[in-house]
């Protein structure tokens, strides 16, 4: 049950990230409406039901894997599944690969090009993401999120516990992880006619689950959580700091995504390399502390 709730929480956080993207695009670049994630979701459902705009087998399989990865990563972040470092990374990687597999089929030129570019972005930014994740674990000298949460219980929040260099390194790594998380996502619904419906719906769900899982993992490094999930989870007040941190993380991820969307595609690749550099700096800070 806790695993299913983790997926729902991740999907909700992913929706928050998308809404943040829409808000930033509207406020800064005066583009689109604030509610386009929800309106696009509704349009996809309508196309699926009324026009029978169905999914293919490859898309179903890819989306299944993507949602499975997001679910496992989110569950690991909140303590409903094992939080071993390789397991968390593999789950996040599965979430990303599955989403890209679900978005890989399109016969419409611009949508296909967008999907290909998103895959290249994912491949280019993955080393930086893995490094940022590693910094989080190295900061707490742990290989398991359970140990990280235990350290929070004893020492306090990751943003406050010294030494200062380690805190700065951890915060920097978290920001890098969120930025890379934005670059790893499957492409959103294209504006071209014929690209909505079931395929777009599943890709949206994969994107939301991966965004949500990414911010939950980041929140686990910064704010910890509870190793024992009470019956009232996630409404248990003891979990609020972690969930609020995750919500803020979702807003940051959405904002970063909006900023990156405004950049030319080649600049997004440079941003990925820049993220790798920052992740290396964060690693150095954590080692020096």
């Amino acid at each position: 049950m806790a695993v299913a709730v983790a997926l729902i929480v991740a999907l909700f956080l992913g929706l928050v990230a998308d809404l943040a993207t829409a808000l930033v695009l509207r406020v800064v670049w005066h583009g689109g409406s604030v509610g386009w994630p929800l309106s696009a979701f509704g349009a996809d459902v309508r196309l699926l039901v009324m026009n029978r705009d169905r999914i293919s087998v490859v898309e179903a399989f890819g989306a299944g894997l993507g949602l499975l990865g997001g679910t496992l990563a989110a569950a690991a972040a909140v303590g409903a599944a094992p939080g071993n470092a390789p397991f968390v990374y593999l789950a996040l990687a599965l979430g990303a690969v599955g989403g890209h597999a679900a978005a890989s089929l399109s016969d419409i030129g611009p949508a296909e090009l967008r999907a290909k570019r998103a895959r290249l972005q994912f491949a280019m930014v993955e080393p930086a993401f893995a490094l940022a994740l590693a910094v989080g674990f190295i900061r707490w000298r742990a290989v398991d999120l359970e140990a990280v949460r235990g350290a929070h219980d004893v020492l306090g929040s990751g943003m406050e516990v010294g030494p200062p260099l380690a805190s700065i390194g951890l915060i920097l790594a978290t920001l890098v992880g969120l930025a890379c998380g934005a670059l790893r996502l499957a492409p959103e619904r294209a504006a071209e006619t014929g690209t909505g419906g079931g395929s777009s719906l599943l890709v949206t769900l994969c994107r939301w689950s991966l965004s949500g899982a990414t911010v939950l993992v980041a929140a686990a490094f910064l704010a910890g959580g509870e190793n024992t999930l009470a019956a009232g989870w996630p409404l248990d007040p003891a979990l609020l700091p972690a969930l609020l941190t995750a919500a803020v993380g979702a807003l940051i991820l959405g904002g970063v995504r909006a900023a990156l969307d405004a950049l030319p595609w080649s600049m997004r690749l440079l941003a990925g390399w820049g993220a790798a550099l920052l992740a290396a700096v964060a690693l150095e800070l954590v080692f020096l502390a």
Binding site: L67, L68, K116, L120, D144
Partner: protein, 551 residues
Amino acid sequence: MTIPDASLLQVAAVGPAVAGVVWLGLLRWPWIRRLAAGAVWLAAHAAAWSVFWRLYGAETVGWRGLEPGLLQASVVPVAEIGVLLALIRADALRGRAAVGAVVGLTVSMSAVVVGAYSTSLVGQALFLPVPTLAAAAASLTGSGWRRMPGLGGLAAADLVAVLGFAVLFDRSGSSTVTSAGGLGLGSALLLLSAAAKVGAVPGFATWRLTASNGPGALITAALRGQGVALCALAGPIVAGVEDSIPLAAAAVVATMIAGGSGLLAGRAHTSLTAICGAAGAVLFLAIGLGGSVGLRAFLLLFPAFLLASGVALLVGWPGEEEELAGRRSRIRRWVGGAALGVAAASLAGLPPAGGFPGTWLTFDLATARGTIEPLYVILTGAAALGLVAAVVGAIPLLRAVRPGWIPALVGAAGAGMLLYVGSLPVRVGGGWWLRVEDGLNAPRLLSFVGAPSLPPVAGKVLLAAAMASAVPVGLVILLGRGFRDAGGTFAGPIPRRNPGPSRGGVRHLARKLLARSERLYVGMAAAMLIELAAVWSIVQLVIRAGRRGFL
């Protein structure tokens, strides 16, 4: 009644070639030739398993110069399964191409068996060039025969291997395969040749041949089997279980190049080549990491590699023929796509496919070594990225598969075997690993080392996660009332600009030179010369062995 060793070994060695001759003789009657040749092939395969089983039971099996160890005897039946899958694909080719591919595969397999079973360096060298010549002959039967891709590289690989045998012969003073107690020049040359034959060397030999359209690409199933047998000979048997950073580093570089090639693939053949090449390079990474754990990782990796590459060739190799998508082919494409997906996951080392335990153990060993030598951590990360890139590059293959009914169903059966092996590695191979390691005098490992040291992800958690993620997908399928037909052609994962009309420059000049060299058969001539050099070296080796009384 016990079958004599001589009969078993003869049937195992000659049987595949006889199956090819039977197939050729009954060429006019498709189903009769398949049944008759299939029966002969099964008899040879059963003989190979019998040899393995006797050695597994600590008996010795020998006849003249054929006295295999358990490791070499293990490679043969697995390689034969991979070749059988390629044979099913080859049988579906048209005209001369089918003849070239089937006969080439069967003759090559016999040569691989003799090479694997032989305890004589000279005997192994004698049969070494056969798969290369078979690949050349099969390529001649295809429409792109002028190019004969990969032949030069394969000939060079043969020459390097023969030189390796010659060095081992000179240094040991004996033509019998013996342990050299470390990675020397001879075993290094053999490993280089093995890497080229397995397809782990980017742009060279088996790599290029796999990426071609012609029937020669199917011969790569036998070449991979030969490469694995050579790798097992040069690595654990001759060199022992010492680690080698240069070998590990070279394997990682090859993995990364393969991954990049997969991402940039513009054709299905290139994508297929890249994923097979990346997986092949991981075998050498395991050998390079050394130790009993490295040996155990190699034992976990090679059966899954041979089986998965066979399934990938069976359902994923497009050949020269294009079949249009349509309603009737949809089920076949789904089944074939699922089988190819499992094969690609196995080659990339993703769970729960067959390649996962070996890949995981390799990376686990590398990170453990990284606590002493940090370079290994970088190598591990780089290899993992290479595999991820290769599997991302293989995703568009799933859409482009168009197998026939039999290849789709057989591919699905192969995928099932891969999932079984990947889910229960200790149950499948625990006793076999211990016996092989004992035979090679490797330090002892506990039998359960091989399963990944992940935390025990309880079945309930996985089931709950799978059900939770299946609900939205199921809802979408229900709301849409089924699936849509999304068959299409291969579309590479990375956007590439169209080259456009050539306007001079280095690229234009290179294309002109290539076209001219093809017309003048320059590449073919060079490859033949190198192969002749290899054959001449074999003759010299035989003469020297004869003078020393080893024949």
